[in-house]
């Protein structure tokens, strides 16, 4: 990716300005500045939405219903991104929605990374029957149509935040298990692991001190990439009515609500989509960058 291109001599001679812009460009290409910037904004809004959001996201002023964004005719600077069909401020709901999405994604990643890593390590280290069992589980999971099962679960158990976490964690642990298993298969025959075994280190010690550090890079990279796809999946589920329960602002359900007002109020459905897009792109870029930075070998696996 970061192949250094020899600068044409003419360009260098003409102006120093182009040299500076070239430096800025290489800097931007080498370090993930933009994704980090987007994620920083997201983290801040997610942490203290009440301080940043101009209005209460549940505050419905019917009089202002379907007011367009500030720059359009009839818009007001108080409601930058307009007002939705129930008289709620779109920007405020976006900001509060960031919090919901982020908390959900982080919790799911923590759970599925923990479960997937432990199972993957056990599976790779011991092999045999345990390995077969875990890998069969992974294959079965792949055949389950996630969206439909999630919707059925939402209908049977009622929509809730907890249920969403369980379903998404069930969906995502396998990625960790597979990758970690592959890594451990390589690691377990390494000299330092064998030596530790000969020295009489306990299994727990081998796992925690010798194998875990070896797989931590993979886990971090996968986690970052997973956050993006989780936010996407969550929005799809919310859109289908099986995600975060309605009054709570979530990006996916905002789009679903806005769909019916597409012809006269495009802003309700458009901005949450842009927010999802930017977030997912940021996480994907960061994940790809981390992967290349730590371990170019992994590039082909995904």
């Amino acid at each position: 990716m970061s192949k250094t291109v020899a600068a044409p001599i003419g360009v260098l001679k003409t102006a120093d300005r182009s040299l500076i812009s070239r430096r800025v460009w290489t800097f931007l290409r080498r370090w993930p500045v933009l994704p980090c910037l987007i994620l920083a904004v997201l983290a801040v809004t997610g942490a203290v939405p009440d301080l940043i959001a101009p209005r209460d996201p549940y505050d419905a002023v019917l009089r202002q219903r379907l007011r367009p964004p500030a720059w359009m005719e009839g818009g007001s600077s108080e409601n930058l991104l307009g007002i939705d069909h129930l008289g709620r401020d779109v920007l405020s709901r976006l900001i509060h929605g960031a919090r919901v999405s982020l908390i959900l994604a982080v919790v799911v990643v923590l759970i599925s990374a923990a479960v997937g890593t432990v199972l993957g390590m056990i599976s790779g280290y011991y092999g045999g029957l345990v390995d077969d069992f875990v890998m069969r589980l992974v294959e079965i999971k792949q055949a389950v149509p996630l969206l439909l099962v999630a919707m059925i679960a939402a209908m049977v158990f009622g929509q809730s935040f907890t249920l969403l976490i369980v379903v998404l964690a069930f969906w995502s642990w396998t990625g960790f298990a597979r990758q970690v298993r592959t890594e451990v298969l390589h690691l377990r025959t390494r000299e330092y692991v064998l030596n530790a075994k000969i020295m009489g280190a306990s299994t727990f010690r081998i796992f925690s001190r010798h194998l875990l550090p070896g797989v931590s890079n993979v886990v971090v990279v996968l986690s970052t990439l997973l956050v993006g796809s989780l936010i996407l999946t969550e929005s799809v589920l919310s859109f289908l009515g099986a995600g975060i329960p309605p009054p709570r602002p979530a990006w996916g359900s905002m789009i679903a609500e806005g769909r019916e007002f597409l012809t006269n109020a495009w802003w309700i459905a458009t901005f949450p989509g842009v927010a999802i897009f930017l977030t997912v792109v940021a996480f994907n870029f960061l994940g790809d960058w981390l992967r290349d930075y730590w371990d170019p070998r992994l590039q082909q696996t995904r």
Partner: protein
């Protein structure tokens, strides 16, 4: 053999979920029924037997494609699913064609002309495909082409032009994935000895790229393209909802929203079986593409 096992496990999960909901009799009978009527229904539906037996009875019927009657439509579920399936197949095929037509050539182009405008175009498409929520893409396409420009119909069933927007919506993500895979596979193959040899022999660049290189780079993308086709048949849930397309995905969503358990279970199992069968076909097709596998 293992595939059958997979399907059985999935069916057990779905069956268990349908029973967690509570006694199915609550769906059919109201509060005015007597104890006798209640028990009679129970016997008729086999609810007086242990749950494991109930499951196997149900599974036995399911193997013979008998999922019972839809609760509201009063028609066999199999009929309903089979009625809708051609629509889903049509949409899936159109989306698949879109994905291949966009993803394959652009993947090859961006590998061959690495670093040029083609490469950036390809990567931009891939980027959008992976990060855009599919339903939002569909909504935006409707807004732009159907509402603003009025070039294309909104969806629903109709002439071939009704297929365009849903197919793009469904196929975009797959096109992006395919593009990435083709690109990286081509980059690898173009670097190999036999391609260099072909070039050195004086084979025209066009032939080197499209015959020598592409054929050998196709194995992974082929896997992927079969996976996406089977994924489409399950993943059309979203697209069919956005475009009100009368396919199996929308049938499942409607069934879930109206608590129609037999239909729901039928549709979900149908999607699972399709996925598993597609994977089986994939394994077989490997042998045709890459003869080396046959000798393993």
């Amino acid at each position: 053999m293992f595939m059958v096992f997979t399907v059985i496990i999935v069916s057990a999960i779905i069956f268990a979920m349908s029973r967690v909901q509570g006694d199915p009799r609550f769906m059919y009978l109201d509060n005015n029924t007597t104890k006798e009527q209640w028990d009679a229904w129970g016997r008729q539906m086999g609810l007086d037997r242990p749950i494991v037996v109930q499951y196997f009875v149900w599974l036995g019927k399911a193997v013979r494609l008998d999922f019972g009657q839809s609760m509201w439509e009063k028609r066999p579920v199999t009929d309903l699913v089979m009625n809708r399936f051609p629509n889903t197949l049509q949409l899936g095929a159109a989306a698949w064609i879109f994905a291949v037509v966009v993803g394959l050539p652009l993947g090859v182009l961006s590998a061959v002309m690495r670093g040029t405008a083609w490469d950036y175009l390809g990567r931009t498409i891939a980027l959008f495909g992976q990060a855009l929520p599919p339903f939002w893409l569909g909504i935006m396409l409707i807004l732009l082409f159907a509402v603003q420009l009025e070039w294309l119909p909104i969806g629903r069933k109709g002439g071939p032009d009704h297929l365009i927007l849903p197919a793009i919506t469904l196929g975009w993500l797959a096109a992006a994935g395919l593009l990435r895979l083709v690109r990286s596979a081509m980059l690898e193959v173009l670097d190999s000895e036999f391609v260099k040899l072909a070039r050195a022999k004086g084979v025209t660049p066009w032939l080197v790229i499209w015959k020598h290189a592409l054929r050998n780079a196709l194995l992974v993308p082929l896997t992927y393209s079969v996976l996406i086709l089977s994924g489409f048949l399950a993943g059309t849930v979203v697209t069919e909802t956005v475009f009100q397309w009368p396919g199996v995905g929308r049938l499942a969503v409607q069934a879930i929203n109206t608590n129609d358990f037999p239909t729901m279970v039928g549709a979900v199992l149908f999607a699972t079986v399709l996925f598993v069968v597609a994977n089986l076909l994939l394994d077989i097709s490997y042998a045709f593409i890459d003869p080396r596998i046959r000798y393993r």
